[in-house]
């Protein structure tokens, strides 16, 4: 199991487009991905789940990946957040 804390860095937060990008990316891996915010916990491969986090700019999220390719999964997702999903 790999865990990672990340911060939402794009100003608009996790709106429809970044959510779609995140889910598409996560779905390419075999490992499961759970995303936690405060006390909500959602499936990182579910667009509705990720949308419902309502993660604004500056929110802190915890990624938890579990499976054969968990490290790669976490790395790529982290890069997405770092690159601000290509926004700003």
């Amino acid at each position: 199991m790999t865990k990672k804390k990340i911060i939402v860095k794009n100003r608009l937060g996790l709106h429809a487009r970044p959510c779609a990008l995140l889910v598409k990316t996560a779905s390419r891996y075999r490992s499961d991905l759970i995303i936690k915010k405060d006390n909500i916990e959602v499936n990182g491969k579910s667009i509705m789940g990720v949308m419902m986090l309502a993660a604004e700019f500056g929110s802190e999220l915890q990624l938890v990946a579990n499976g054969v390719d968990e490290d790669y999964l976490i790395n790529e997702i982290e890069e997405l957040f770092e690159s601000k999903f290509g926004e700003d």
Partner: protein, 567 residues
């Protein structure tokens, strides 16, 4: 008889009987299945999802051509393939023995509630699209493979109708327009929606943004739909019908007449050449500009790249749009105006700040200077696209030379940054200012030292000079472009700009008003910029006008302080 007004997005006139179709709130009865049907019900659910996936793929493959549109629609696929959706619906079928429809409805309710609780409007905005996708799956489960909207079209195959709808998808327009639809009146929609773009390509008149239309129109009403003005006349009387019929006849007669002038350059009867440029709002309009053989783009309003979306257009996206336009126009000038918007319209900027007087507020160049990052992205995209054609940049809402010099500084920074990153661009770009604030009229000489050209935006100039809101019906009579103050300002601008050899164009609505053309020609305007649809009509007027006579008319008008149109 009653007339309502919306936003015209696709030109033309339609006369006909209407069909009103209002999408019902999804109605699904609470129903249970026998426990032995569970497996079959899950199978039915999976099939409905597959069917919808196939339809979405069909729209992506056959109706959309732009990557951005495809990306938008492909997020529907994620909604349909959402593991959460599958898990919750199957659980409800399994444990509570609900029908798949009912399980979907409960799922939709659950997420509606959590979206409603979100405090950040921005993140919850897109929800209605999700609702539509799920509703379409419920349609399949109800045996409505054609979806309830399609049924409206299929049940009314005979005759021509004007459809009155909440909204319609581009694929439905493309599928159904032939033979049965004469036009659309929509409650939602915008000029940049895919539906509007496809309708224009097909030549179907469409008016959108008719918010109140379901209270105003009933099925079977006789409608006149004016895709030029946005007017919809409900249960018209004979006189109005006659008027519209004659507009239609006149249009086709005139079009035939005007087409004859298409290859002649615009010049006055006594030989003064007046280049005709076009005002455009979206990339696709360039095709019309080329078809009408206009001399260039006099005003590309870039704000349409910024509105109706929840993110900002990135440099690459903007670059592609500007490049496409510049390439299509070859060497002809393409004047691109930096975004002229208030902060409330741009994603991610201060939405909470409600301005008391938005027209006197932080919009146009003022917002750009306040948000230099957004401005720089646009400038860089322009400089890069400038390799591919003859691009010029123009600033809106200039009130003093300071805004121009600050903007030029930013342009220089952009050039430097592009150079350092070794990004290909053309730094030689002409700079112009919109003259639309009365103060700018009186500092043309100072502006001329920094600007290469001017364009008078008469819509705002009239509004600001006469202190009359253009869209407030109660002050309509005060919004008078024929007020002598306006003609004087145009003349002051031109005279001073010409002292510095700077050309002046007009890009407001009066540039397409045939009665105003002689006044503009007589004021020594160098060119006109107008909507593509009016090019040939204005050209005809110019061909019929003598420059020397126009000068005399202007002289008389100024002397008499004439407030009205001259006969």
């Amino acid at each position: 008889m009653k007339t309502i007004k919306g936003i015209p997005v696709s030109e033309g006139i339609a006369i006909g009987r209407d069909i009103v179709y209002r999408k019902e709130k999804i109605k699904v009865k609470k129903k249970k299945i026998n426990p032995d049907q569970v497996k079959a019900e899950i199978e039915r659910f999976n099939q409905a999802i597959s069917k919808e996936l196939k339809e979405i793929q069909d729209i992506i493959d056959n109706y959309l051509h732009n990557e951005k549109e495809k990306e938008l629609i492909s997020s529907y696929i994620l909604i349909l393939k959402d593991p959460l959706l599958e898990e919750k619906v199957i659980k409800m079928i399994n444990e509570s023995n609900y029908t798949a429809q009912y399980a979907l409805k409960l799922y939709l309710q659950e997420i509606t509630e959590s979206f409603a609780k979100m405090t950040n409007k921005y993140l919850s905005e897109r929800f209605s699209e999700y609702e539509d996708v799920i509703a379409r799956v419920i349609d399949h489960l109800n045996g409505n493979d054609n979806h309830s909207e399609d049924e409206v079209f299929n049940n009314n195959k005979e005759g021509d109708y004007i459809y009155v709808l909440d909204d319609i998808s581009p694929s439905q327009v493309a599928k159904h327009y032939q033979g049965i639809a004469k036009g659309f009146c929509l409650a939602k929609g915008s000029k940049t929606s895919h539906t509007a773009i496809i309708s224009r390509a097909l030549g179907l008149p469409v008016v959108v943004g008719l918010e109140n239309l379901f209270n105003e129109i009933q099925t079977g009403d006789e409608l006149l739909l004016n895709g030029h003005t946005g007017e919809v006349v409900i249960n018209y009387d004979k006189a109005t019908l006659k008027k519209y019929r004659s507009i239609l006849e006149e249009e086709s007669r005139q079009n035939a007449e005007l087409e004859k002038t298409i290859n002649i350059p615009a010049r006055t009867a006594d030989g003064k050449k007046i280049p005709l440029y076009c005002n455009i709002e979206i990339e696709q309009e360039v095709d019309t500009v080329i078809r009408k053989k206009a001399d260039g783009i006099g005003l590309f309003r870039t704000e349409y790249l910024f509105i109706d979306r929840d993110d900002l257009p990135q440099e690459e996206e903007q670059f592609q749009v500007y490049r496409n336009i510049a390439e299509k126009m070859k060497d002809k000038p393409v004047i691109i105006r930096t975004y002229d918007l208030g902060g409330d319209k741009i994603a991610g900027t201060t939405k909470h700040k409600q301005e008391n007087n938005p027209f006197l507020g932080c919009r146009g160049i003022r917002l750009s200077l306040k948000k230099p990052q957004i401005f720089k992205t646009q400038i860089k995209a322009l400089l890069r696209a400038n390799i591919h054609g003859n691009i010029m940049v123009m600033f809106p809402m200039i009130s003093s030379p300071d805004e121009v010099s600050e903007s030029i500084k930013i342009i220089e920074i952009c050039k430097e940054e592009l150079k350092q990153n070794k990004t290909e661009h053309n730094p030689n770009i002409k700079i112009g200012a919109m003259i639309e604030i009365p103060a700018a009229v009186f500092c043309i000489a100072e502006l001329a030292k920094m600007c290469d050209f001017f364009s008078i935006g008469t819509n705002d100039l009239v509004q600001y000079t006469l202190a009359a809101d253009r869209i407030n019906k109660d002050v309509e009579r005060y919004y008078n472009p024929y007020h002598p103050a306006i003609l004087k300002m145009i003349n002051i601008t031109v005279a001073n700009a010409h002292r510095f050899n700077r050309p002046v164009s007009i890009c407001g609505e009066i540039a397409s008003d045939p009665d105003f053309i002689p006044l503009l020609l007589g004021s020594d305007i160098d060119s006109l910029s107008l909507n593509p649809a009016s090019v040939l009509a204005v050209k005809k007027k110019i061909l019929d006008t003598r420059y020397d006579e126009a000068k005399e008319t202007v002289r008389k008008n100024m002397k008499n302080n004439a407030f009205k149109k001259q006969d």
